[in-house]
Amino acid sequence: MSLSQVITRDLRLALRQKSDAATVVLFFVLTAALFPFAIGPEAEILIRIAPGVIWVTALLSVLLSLDRLFMADYEDGTLELMILKPLPLELTVFGKVVAHWLISGLPLIVACPLIGLLYGLPLEGLGVLLLALVLGTASLSLIGAIGAALTLGARRGGVLLPLLVLPINIPILIFGVAASDSGLSGDPVKGPLMILGAVLLGMLFLAPLAAAAALRQAME
């Protein structure tokens, strides 16, 4: 078992159960599409709220997909056997998070221009929005992995998970929306983007360690 095997296995599993991944991106598109109906068609208001709506919806979509991250492998005994393998559990966790982002983070970003079209966003600002989303959703997946691992053994873990993860996600939301707003209005975007990048780098290191420790605890 190697890192690439862990990733390709999770991708293959997702490809054969397409409805799971489709649910997440469908939720994202449908929820974001509802706001213009509720708020009305004024162009300035839509452009003003677009980054916030996209980020909140993306955050909730990632949250929606998190309980699947380890649960299936926990219930059928796969995690136990993964612990026995020579590949360090931290790397296994990293592989699973990479696969999780490819399955439920990346499709959101691909669907984002569609939402942009709906809200009449100028094309120039879209690049910054997408870049911020790449950095942000990757961090959301990593932080979510810690929460998913911590709530694994708990009853009603599905309720606990958002409570645990949402407060930590708020800085990502704030800086993500700040970067996207600045990008749309032509202001400098370097600051918030760099903070998003820094959070991602920190989480790339911390999240696998923390999630692996929580998984070992859940195995007992």
Partner: protein, 213 residues
């Protein structure tokens, strides 16, 4: 000096003492059968040996050094077949087995593993269509696909037909001939020759902690 041994092991689960003062030792080529009534701690002892649990007291050694000094390398030379089978319903039998095979496993070895437990005709069948006996056989095939020194088997005979049972005892025999170790919890006869036996105690109410209402 025994290759794999445990001294004075004690384990508590949920405040209840599962067993205490448990001692075992195994040399290369030896087999240990864990017997005892339901709830006597056979599975718990196997999970302890696999390093999923830590004993509340006592020591476990592998070839002279304690396993908790380097748990990862202890876990790298064992194979565990438990009650959960880790079979993905959407992956085929071949794909399921290939994932658990060791990295340098040849096609030859995978073929051997499939043939031994008569899984070759099922190689392209998705895991969700397997019967419980077939799932068990696919799990046992891991023992051949990813060789390890120590086999920890939790009720390996459950759900197996006569042919698979004799295949299993044949596999265990040749594993021991190569110097491998086997620890198996079982209620049924696995036809293992000259195996040591460890009788685990009975569940008793005196082991329960005082309940405060």
């Amino acid at each position: 000096m025994a290759l794999f041994s445990g001294r004075d092991l004690a384990c508590f689960r949920g405040g209840r003492q599962v067993f205490s003062d448990l001692t075992f030792s195994l040399d290369a080529g030896e087999a240990l059968l864990l017997t005892g009534p339901n709830g006597s701690g056979k599975s718990t002892l196997l999970r302890l040996m696999a390093g999923f649990l830590r004993p509340n007291a006592g020591q476990m050694d592998w070839s002279g050094s304690t396993v908790y000094d380097d748990l990862a390398s202890h876990q790298a030379h064992l194979q565990y077949v438990g009650h959960l089978d880790a079979i993905k319903g959407v992956l085929t039998v071949g794909e399921n087995l290939r994932f658990w095979a060791c990295r340098d496993a040849s096609e030859q070895r995978l073929g051997d593993a499939l043939d031994t437990f008569e899984l070759a005709p099922l190689e392209q069948v998705p895991g969700r269509l397997l019967s419980s006996g077939q799932r068990r056989r696919l799990n046992l095939a891991r023992l051949i696909a990813a060789p390890a020194d120590l086999w920890l088997l939790d009720e390996p005979g459950v759900g197996l037909d006569q042919a698979a049972l004799s295949a299993l005892s044949e596999v265990i025999r040749s594993h021991r001939d190569r110097g491998g170790l086997v620890v198996a919890a079982t209620h049924t006869d696995l036809f293992i020759d000259d195996a040591r036996s460890l009788q685990l105690g009975t569940f008793s109410a005196s082991n329960l902690p005082e309940l405060v209402w």
